[in-house]
């Protein structure tokens, strides 16, 4: 059996693989399958971010040309396109999108990641990321102004001198106004974490408002956080 063709093909090739897929792939799916996967429109219906509305106010003509009126439909379109740009430019290879319960990450970034935050169309496939050259972005919404992001995408070193992030000049038109891609990716980044009540300003080194460590009463904390996801936006 251990040296026969059928043994190798059926047991090692198929059976072990399928066993591992069931245990390590299908089992997590069964655990989360009751969490509805929200569409981009359902996410947008929960409310527009200030930053998205801000883009429309700052660049009314361009915005209207790209997305039309300031509606949840336009927001959903911007989020979806922004996510596609985020993937195409491999932003997720240098910026993670989850806060771990260790290494004092909740003190730096904010509340620890919860599964429910990822039950939506924009996290298909999920954008956890595996490397942090730049900071985590899952608690980024509203952290900085749209103007900061515009300057930063055009030339990161203009606002962060030591930054090693590439320039994304093709997010802008000839007048250095964000084009459709630019507005979309800014909308997406400014949306990440907008469902969380508050998080610390790590960039100034002021960790005055740390979220409680999820040791004692972890379940309460997560439940509270989950409610925030439902109510917010």
């Amino acid at each position: 059996m251990f040296e026969s063709k059928s043994g190798v093909l059926v047991i090692a090739g198929l059976a072990f693989f399928i066993f591992a897929f069931i245990v390590m792939g299908a089992l997590p799916w069964t655990i989360y399958k009751d969490q509805p996967e929200l569409t981009a429109l359902e996410l947008a219906d929960r409310g527009l971010t200030h930053e998205f509305v801000g883009l429309a106010e700052q660049f009314p003509e361009r915005f209207a040309e790209y997305f039309g009126d300031v509606t949840p439909g336009a927001f959903a379109e911007a989020l979806t396109l922004g996510r596609d740009v985020y993937v195409a430019e491999a932003c997720w290879h240098c910026h993670s999108q989850f806060v771990r319960p260790v290494a004092r990450e909740d003190i730096r970034w904010g509340p620890v990641a919860h599964a429910r935050e990822y039950s939506n169309e924009l996290q298909r496939p999920v954008l956890f990321g595996t490397r942090r050259v730049g900071p985590d972005l899952s608690r980024e919404a509203g952290r900085r102004s749209n103007d900061w992001h515009i300057a930063h995408f055009y030339d990161p070193t203009s606002v962060v001198p030591l930054s090693v992030m590439p320039r994304y000049t093709w997010f802008f038109d000839e007048n250095r106004v964000p084009n459709k891609k630019g507005m979309a990716v800014i909308s997406f980044v400014q949306w990440l974490g907008c469902w969380v009540d508050e998080y610390p300003y790590y960039e100034e080194g002021l960790y005055s408002n740390p979220a409680p460590m999820p040791s004692a009463g972890a379940d309460d904390e997560l439940a509270k956080h989950g409610d925030a996801v439902d109510e917010k936006a």
Binding site: K33, V87, A115, N120, P125, V133, W170
Partner: protein, 479 residues
Amino acid sequence: MTTIAAGPPRVAGLDRAESLPLVNERVVLCYFVASFTFFIIALLAGLAYSLTFLQSYPFAGIEWLSPGRVRMLHTNGLAYGFIANAFLGGLHWAVPRLTLRSVLSDKLSWLIFVVWQLIVLSTAVGLLAGEAQAVEWGETPVWIDPVAVLGLLLVGANMLTPVIRFKGPMYVSLWYFIAALVWTALTYTMGNFFPQYWIGGTASGAIIGLFIHDLVGLFVTPIGWGLMYYFVPIILKKPIWSHGLSLVGFWGLAFFYPLNGIHHFLYTPIPMFLQHGAILATIAVELVVTTVIVNFFATLRGSGDALRTNLPIRWFYVGMVFYFTTCLQCAFQVTLTFQRIIHFSDWVVGHAHLVMFGVFGFWILGMMTYLFPRLVGASGWYSAKLNSWHFWLSAIGMLVMVLDLTMAGLVQGFAWDALMIWEETLRASTPFWLVRTYAGGAMILAQFLFLYNMVKTASMGRNGAAVSGGIVSGGKIDV
């Protein structure tokens, strides 16, 4: 031991015409040439990308050469261009010799060759054009994925036919090849389709983890070991030390490796009991790996001089030392204690380079060193000295890079844990990134030396020139 267990039967003589019916050596040569071409391109992409970290990326502001996209060209080019092509060449060489039967169809072999190059090229173009899919190591644009699966199925049909037709006990390499051909198609399908179309959110993270790991563990690793089980006994002219340990190694890998995937996403919202399971399975893999390493080093016992005199053997065994190192490292870094600090850092990047270049790259380069002169009809290498430089520059570059990135990872991890201002952690990383670029430069320079040597050797082969020197350490041609 039987003749089979003692190593593959010697059917192909030195005379090329005689060996043609069994093995189409042109196919093998074409795969190696394609493999090495993508190798050079992918390495240059990596070098260019590394300059981003020094704020001196040469193509800044050019959309199609944006560093993020070039990084994907680097990783995908190596996985699907360099490694897959070289392994297909190796399979075309070894499988017919192990089964005494040629592959299903010569025409099919050429079709697969052409299709695979188109897949790799369109992946490269797609990535640079901004068509990437959000699956790490599987960024191949979604419209290429079905073609790639079809290609893998054709490879399976072409390669498994001689195995099925062959009667009698199978040599170890064939176990690995059979399983790997099944696993690769399954892994590719799982990783590229499930998280994209059927499973989203946190659960898709578990699948992507499986994919990242299975691509290394169930495609690259088994074919790599299968080729080692073939080439090492052939070159050393002695059987593998223990058949029993070969069995332990194969079945241990088959059971434990597929269970590792989630260890790429520790401390995510994926349930903790699954994370613990993946960690235990990963540590188990290290124990299995040890049995394989013991088997190979026991085989080398008594022939240790080959490390000095025989360059392919040196590539293979240094690759195995790196393999053991990387697996040992993995058994530690997978623990939650280590993960706290090193996750997200350059430690992991060093680990990935050690696996892909230090292990499988070394095995492939050893295989090329061994086979290339004979594939082009030369009686030996143009220059043994260049081959020696190729080895030492690659090995030293690799060693410096992995040590450098490991240290960088520790510095970064502890700096983050200490809540250092983010920009300051960049400042702390810069010296390490500088050393990394130089180490990578040495590794690339080595490949250009090898390229020059290959071109010269090929022209010697065409001219039928006699070779003086270069045979001893440049790959013996004495199968």
